[in-house]
């Protein structure tokens, strides 16, 4: 039943329109991520869904209940939603058990059952044995787990997470991605997840909504977002990309960059003679030989060794190109002439 529907939702704060019009659906058991740069309105959308903000116009439906519209507003406590806040919001005056038990206490769950359910929730987040601890005695990662247990303990119809990993250190953040996903799979719960970190979004989501200034740029599964970005913004925001100006040679999609690079791409609508080609660094192979369509000669300008990969900056006739190299393919010295093989490219209007 956890079918969420946003129907042309508009949000204004005073004179500032933060969300000019947002329509989307989330299906049952889906892991959906709102991805976008800071300030683009992700938190605002999540808070509208939770009931902390009212909509200026438009409607929000949970299942077949209208929960938000200019005239209807179901308050947060009546929406049966679990939420994990960026600051965790673990109550410092209650121990772990009481924190997690709170939603059940409100729902007047009998003592025995409450105990059982709290313990089960703590087990899911691997906090067994810590139920007597006060939050001040917990690490950031553990507090986060408490917040997560509290959010799921009452079996809400959906779970909202607002940048839950952004306060953790890099290693833990990485590990938590997989763990969150596992928990979601086990519980089969619908998740709406907010982040500005594309790797997080990629790793966990069934679908991603890429937002820019309150507007939806693209809604698609991670692979599609990455391989077929619909706009220049999406290509740029998700992953790395080289932007190079190109001339259209033929309406079948042949374009030319600089003197000697010819590529086949899907041309953007509009039939303009000049387009912007976008090539991901990891969609380029670097070698010493080759010619023909999709290859270009160049010279290595700078090289950065990162262990698992090597970043090259290569000068070509079409401009400077960033290439991600695999150390197994050998190393190329600065100043060395090379040939780049472009495996995949897209084009956007200039």
């Amino acid at each position: 039943m956890a079918h969420i529907r946003f129907d042309n939702v508009v949000k204004r704060f005073g004179d500032v329109t933060v969300i000019p019009g947002f329509s989307a659906t989330v299906s049952d058991g889906e892991f959906l991520t709102l991805l976008g740069p800071s300030g683009c309105g992700k938190t605002t959308m999540l808070r509208i869904l939770a009931g902390f903000e009212k909509v200026t116009s438009g409607e929000v439906w949970l299942g077949d209940t209208l929960v938000s519209s200019p005239t209807v507003h179901v308050p947060p406590e009546k929406r049966n939603i679990g939420m994990v806040f960026q600051s965790y919001a673990v109550w410092p005056h209650m121990n772990v058990f009481d924190n997690v038990a709170y939603p059940l206490r409100i729902r007047r769950v009998p003592r025995e059952e409450m105990r059982e359910r709290v313990m089960r929730a703590l087990e899911i987040v691997h906090l067994q044995g810590l139920e007597k601890r006060m939050p001040s005695q917990l690490s950031g990662g553990q507090q986060q787990r408490v917040a997560l247990a509290r959010a799921v303990v009452a079996e809400p119809r959906m779970l909202l997470l607002d940048e839950p990993l952004s306060n953790l250190d890099a290693k833990l953040r990485e590990a938590m991605r997989f763990e969150l996903k596992e928990i979601q799979r086990r519980l089969g719960i619908t998740v709406v997840y907010v982040t500005h970190d594309q790797a997080e979004a990629m790793a966990m989501s069934d679908r991603i909504i890429v937002m820019n200034k309150g507007v939806i740029e693209q809604v698609a599964p991670p692979a599609e977002i990455y391989d077929r970005p619909k706009s220049r913004f999406v290509a740029d925001f998700v992953g790395l990309v080289n932007f190079l100006e190109a001339t259209v040679e033929n309406s079948d999609g042949t374009i030319r960059i600089g003197d000697d690079l010819v590529l086949k791409v899907d041309l953007p609508a509009g039939g303009s003679q000049r387009v912007l080609a976008a090539i991901r660094p990891e969609h380029i192979r670097i070698g010493r030989e080759g010619s023909g369509v999709g290859t270009v000669k160049g010279t290595v300008l700078r090289r950065y060794y990162l262990g698992d990969q090597i970043d090259y900056f290569v000068q070509t006739s079409g401009g400077e190109v960033r290439v991600t190299g695999n150390p197994l393919d050998g190393m190329f010295a600065e100043g060395e002439p090379v040939v780049l093989h472009i495996q995949h490219a897209f084009a956007f209007p200039l």
Partner: protein
């Protein structure tokens, strides 16, 4: 960093020495005096003092007034702070400012104003009530009673509690409350389960602050309680000091030491015990609090707040202005009863100007000295690695927490010539008193500002070859200038209208305006007192605006 005999160390050492000599030495001496009789340790002083029935009565009255004010003030503050901080109450910023207006009005001026309003015979409120209900022939409100005194104390001391709670609400991470909402709790349940427990330390700290402030207050109990023949500890101390014999002074010290102990305990409790229990919220971006919707309570609340603001801020000021403008008090504020005569006579009176000048000079000196010494003490605390570097700051907090009446008594004992320095009876003892009592405001401002100055800025200047004094003057001071100016005003303003210490330390050669006003009201001419009160309120307002402007909005009362 080693202590060396360079400019920096010498300057800091001097600042600390000044604080020790004028702040700590008198207080220590007072305590010794209370326990040592004829060179021997003894508690006889206390036995005598607390054998006296009127002294015991005074202690009881103090406890009663302070306790009631604390309870009423706190019970009133929490809902007001919550309504202003957490609901969609309209005009809340206006209300927030108006509601703490009493903070800007010196309490004894407020007491004078409430005398005009609720004097059982000629108080304006009573006149209006009798005009509305002719059946009532006298009263009905008598401000000169325990109830009246507590009422005025609540009005002028509850801002301590209100501000303490408001600050805690502002500092609290709003998602703590939102997490409870999303867990299923209604707004009122959130208030009970989350907001109240999390602000409990601030509520307790505010309540204790009110208790101590009221227990050490002199102005309101003297002006209101005096008429009702209600003695409190502070008024007893002053009576003993006015008697002036060695025995009387001993009794005064024995009473003062109890007040001192009370304030030390509270200082310790709120700085160590409660501060540790304050729940610090995670730094980082947090959202604005979701405002609880008042719904149909919205407009009733606006009416309630408007009434409160009228009673708190408008009525007292109005009473003062009206009284200053009538020919005869008791005939009401009628057109044929208006005149500027009292204004003329007050403004033409040389005493007005002499006392204003005395207060001005003493406060300017205290504020300037306080800013200088405060800056050095703050520098010591924030920017050096010397061991015990935080102690002078703590001592300044301590002299600030010491009731004015206790401090003044200590100064009298220490600087009457017995220990080589005779300041009592001169202008300088006022300067010293104001300086010591308000120094910690300057320290706090300077410390907060210095913490913002990155060490590399100074290091860059030092490495370019400038001496410490030079770097301090050229780099540090300009950076923290606005805060220093703010700190200067924070010392200046309360010094300018100070009453409690002035009552004990004034002399015919050096009478501050606070004492002059007190004297006019109690003995000479209540109407002239109204004029002077209005004058002081205007000066306080100007001072506050100047302070805001000069500190670029960083500091305001």
């Amino acid at each position: 960093m080693r202590l060396r005999f360079d400019t920096k160390s010498v300057a800091i050492a001097l600042a600390v020495a000044v604080l020790l000599l004028f702040g700590i030495f008198p207080i220590v001496l007072l305590v010794i005096n209370a326990f040592v009789v004829d060179g021997q340790f003894s508690v006889n002083n206390f036995r005598e003092v607390y054998a006296s029935k009127s002294n015991l009565m005074a202690v009881w009255n103090t406890v009663k007034a302070a306790g009631l004010t604390m309870i009423i003030g706190t019970v009133m503050s929490f809902p007001l702070a919550w309504l202003v901080g957490r609901t969609d109450l309209p005009f809340k910023n206006v209300f927030r400012t108006l509601i703490v207006t009493p903070y800007m009005i010196p309490p004894f001026v407020g007491a004078i104003a409430w005398g005009y309003l609720a004097n059982p015979r000629i108080g304006y409120l009573n006149q209006w009530i009798r005009a509305l209900f002719p059946a009532i022939e006298q009263g009905p409100i008598n401000i000169y009673s325990m109830g009246g005194m507590v009422w005025v104390l609540v009005l002028f001391y509850f801002p301590f509690s209100f501000l303490s709670i408001s600050r805690a609400l502002e500092k609290m991470d709003p998602s703590l409350e939102e997490a409870a909402r999303i867990s299923g709790a209604s707004p009122l349940r959130v208030l009970r389960d989350i907001t109240l427990p999390l602000t409990a330390p601030a509520i307790a700290a505010g309540a204790l602050l009110v208790f101590v402030a009221v227990a050490s207050a002199f102005g309101v109990p003297s002006i209101i309680g005096g008429q009702a023949r209600l003695q409190v500890v502070t008024t007893r101390i002053i009576s003993y000091v006015y008697v002036g014999t060695p025995e009387a002074m001993h009794e005064a010290t024995a009473l003062a030491v109890v007040l001192l102990a009370l304030s030390v305990v509270v200082l310790w409790f709120s700085n160590w015990y409660l501060a540790k229990r304050e729940y610090f919220t995670l730094a980082g971006k947090s959202t604005r609090p979701t405002l609880v919707e008042l719904g149909r309570w919205k407009w009733p609340m606006v009416v309630l707040f408007t009434l409160i603001c009228i009673v708190f801020a408008v009525l007292p000021v109005m009473a003062l202005v009206m009284t200053s403008l009538v020919k005869t008090m008791g005939r009401g504020f009628a057109f044929n009863n208006l005149s500027l005569d009292v204004w003329k006579s007050v403004l033409q009176d040389a005493v007005t100007w002499r006392t204003l000048r005395t207060s001005l000079y003493a406060s300017v000196l205290a504020a300037t000295g306080g800013t200088l010494v405060g800056l050095l003490i703050a520098y010591l605390k924030v920017k050096t690695q010397i061991r015990f570097r935080t102690i002078p700051d703590f001592l300044a907090t301590f002299t600030n927490a010491t009731p004015g009446i206790v401090l003044a008594l200590g100064l009298i004992i220490a600087f009457s010539g017995k220990y080589g320095l005779n300041l009592y009876g001169t202008f300088w003892i006022l300067v010293v008193a104001y300086f010591v009592r308000h120094l910690s405001y300057a320290v706090r401002q300077a410390a907060a500002a210095l913490e913002q100055v990155h060490p590399s800025l100074e290091e860059a200047a030092l490495s370019s070859g400038a001496g410490w004094a030079r770097v301090f003057k050229d780099v540090t001071i300009p950076l923290i200038g606005p805060s220093l100016v703010g700190g200067w005003f924070l010392v200046f303003m309360p010094s300018f209208y100070e009453l409690t210490m002035s009552v004990m330390l004034y002399s015919s050669r050096a009478t501050p305006v606070g004492y002059h006003l007190y004297h006019l009201n109690s003995y000479a001419s209540p109407q002239s007192a109204a004029v002077l009160s209005v004058l002081i309120l205007i000066l306080v307002l100007i001072g506050n605006l100047l302070m805001r402007w000069a500190s670029r909005g960083k500091v305001s009362l």
